[in-house]
Amino acid sequence: MIILRLAWKSLMNRWVTAVLTVLAIAVSVMLLLGVEKVRTGAKNSFANTISGTDLIIGARSGDLQLLLYSVFRIGNATNNMTYESYQDIAANEAIDWIVPLSLGDSHRGFRVMGTTTSYFEHYRYRRDRKLTFADGQPFDDLFDAVIGSDVAAALDYQLGDPIIVAHGLGDVGFAEHDDKPFVVAGILDKTGTPVDRTVHVSLEAIEAIHVDWQSGAQIPGQAVSAEEVRTMNLTPKAITAAFVGLKSKLSTFKLQRGINQYAEEPLSAILPGAALQQLWSLIGTAETALAAVSIMVVITALLGMVTMVLATLNERRREMAILRSVGARPRTVLGLLVAEAGLLGFLGAILGVVLLYLALLIVRPLVDATYGLYLDIDWLTSRELFYLLAVISVGLLAGLLPAIHAYRLSLADGMMVRT
């Protein structure tokens, strides 16, 4: 292929500009694919905030609302579900495990959640990861607390540090359960999920700190001390929500229907996966903005390439004339310039992919540790391959612009250009 050979040699002759152009394209391609990788990574991490849980049950409300307060600890439950209903559902033979959740209190801006130790066994994120302890162990004593990694980092808590739970959700609680302080018994590893920002205590502890409270305030003169409360019956009257795992996925819809039609009180059961998808589609507009920005970067790089080819065009009129004098047709001259642009685009795309994987290898552990964002390093998805092809084809098209100009020049100049 005489054209490719000439294009290559001509580029090598201007290798500094060529290398810079290829680099510009490569970096833009890396950015485009990087944004795509981060986007899918974020989407996957998000979709895997909770996994292994087949149903989430709570008082009747919208799917998103239930998901938001039970999994993301955002907003409040409008209603609780009674403990009787919980026990009734827990007795259903389709159920493999069930974890109760009780929300409503906070500690310095972080949610406090009452649950059982089975939470640490059954909660899964990122497909099949279990919660693991960086330090300590699950709560054992009534006033033990297990804190997520963000809580520990933000408040600089160690094992054995005291925690005073505030009633309600304000950062600065007016009403504090300061008569019944908790002790940090365990610190969880980073997960990149809302678990990191949660203080976990036992369901009984939630009951215990509210035993002498009514309507959001301590009942005057009836204070029960931390020691006395241990002797009392601390079975909760209500919980906020429950995570359910089933023996067989096949019974999911049957049980969901059963719970949604539960006669004793209005309840909702949602599929976490479906609700997460729904939520992502709401907040996913940010990804479109990211994609738009990276597409602009690619366009900038390609414009740079066109500029480079155009800038050299005038000095290359001589070259065109020589080629025409030895029998190259205008079409060949056109092909030569398009081939140059194509080569630049192709090399840029390849180098961009190489840079992307290098960057992923370096950045992945950091991003995982800092943001809990897990970036997959797989081969390019078909969507990413499509992006690559698009960059190369747009490169060819962009090369066509100066090429057509050169074609016209070479037709008008003939071969009698004087310099």
């Binding site: 070259e319 080629l323 029998g327 190259a328 047709r329 003939g414 071969m415 009698m416 004087r418």
Partner: protein, 254 residues
């Protein structure tokens, strides 16, 4: 002097089947599109086989335009140009491109070479575009590369020393000799040169022309060269002054 008078000159021992005139331009008129001030009209311009013609005339008299017409880069508005008995008007643009490389060797005033190719690649360049010349270049020699080496040697460049060198590193004189080798490779019938010696000093001009002509004679190639410099005239078979010849005839042409 009139072109008609010259047509039958210098035909030595050619057999009857061979073309007498390699180039025949008759009643040609041409105007560059969009350039009203300039027009070229030639009543007759004929070139015989192996003839060496010096085309002189002041700037703007249309020397380069004549060469463009001759090479089929542009087509005349009127009249007939036939090269090797082929009417250029009958060929379409791409056929003219092919015809050009098959039958013409071309040398410019300067900057003849692609700077990013080696000397040898520059010489071999026309062979990439013409099968006929590729075949002719390998006749009687081991390879086209060997022929390129021979031509470079004949033109006074030691091929072993220069072949692999980058064309950009040569002096102007060396570049012109490489250009001549490229124009001659594959023995095209016509060599067209647009002031190829103007960048050389007088001594080198003579030497360059001698080398060029001896190779052209060996290949039976006609040479049409444009120049300002009338002192080169003794080297040529015939001088054509474009300003004297054609402009007057324009007016009387039908």
């Amino acid at each position: 002097m009139s072109g008609d008078a010259v047509a039958a000159k210098t035909l030595s021992g050619s057999d009857a089947a061979e073309v007498v005139d390699v180039v025949r331009m008759d009643g040609v008129r041409f105007r560059w599109p969009g350039r009203e001030s300039f027009s070229l009209a030639i009543k007759a311009f004929h070139v015989a086989r192996s003839e060496k013609i010096l085309l002189i005339g002041p700037s703007g008299s249309g020397k380069s335009t004549l060469l463009s017409l001759l090479c089929g880069i542009v087509t005349p508005d009127d009249g007939r140009i036939s090269v090797l008995d082929t009417d250029l008007k009958a060929l379409d643009a791409s056929a003219r491109d092919r015809f050009r490389v098959e039958h013409f060797g071309i040398i410019f005033q300067m900057f003849n070479l692609l700077p990013y190719l080696s000397v040898i690649d520059n010489v071999l360049l026309p062979l990439s575009f013409s099968k006929t010349r590729r075949q002719r270049a390998s006749e009687g020699t081991s390879s086209t590369t060997a022929e390129a080496h021979r031509l470079l040697g004949r033109l006074g460049l030691d091929a072993d020393l220069f072949a692999a060198r980058s064309a950009a590193r040569l002096s102007v004189g060396q570049q012109q000799r490489v250009a001549a080798a490229r124009a001659l490779i594959g023995r095209p019938e016509i060599l067209v040169a647009d002031e190829p010696t103007s960048a050389l000093d007088r001594k080198h001009q003579r030497h360059f022309l001698e080398l060029l002509f001896s190779e052209a004679d060996a290949a039976g190639t006609s040479v049409i060269m444009v120049s300002h410099d009338e002192t080169l005239a003794p080297e040529f078979d015939r001088i054509v002054d474009l300003s004297e010849v054609q402009v007057a005839q324009v007016l009387e042409a039908p």
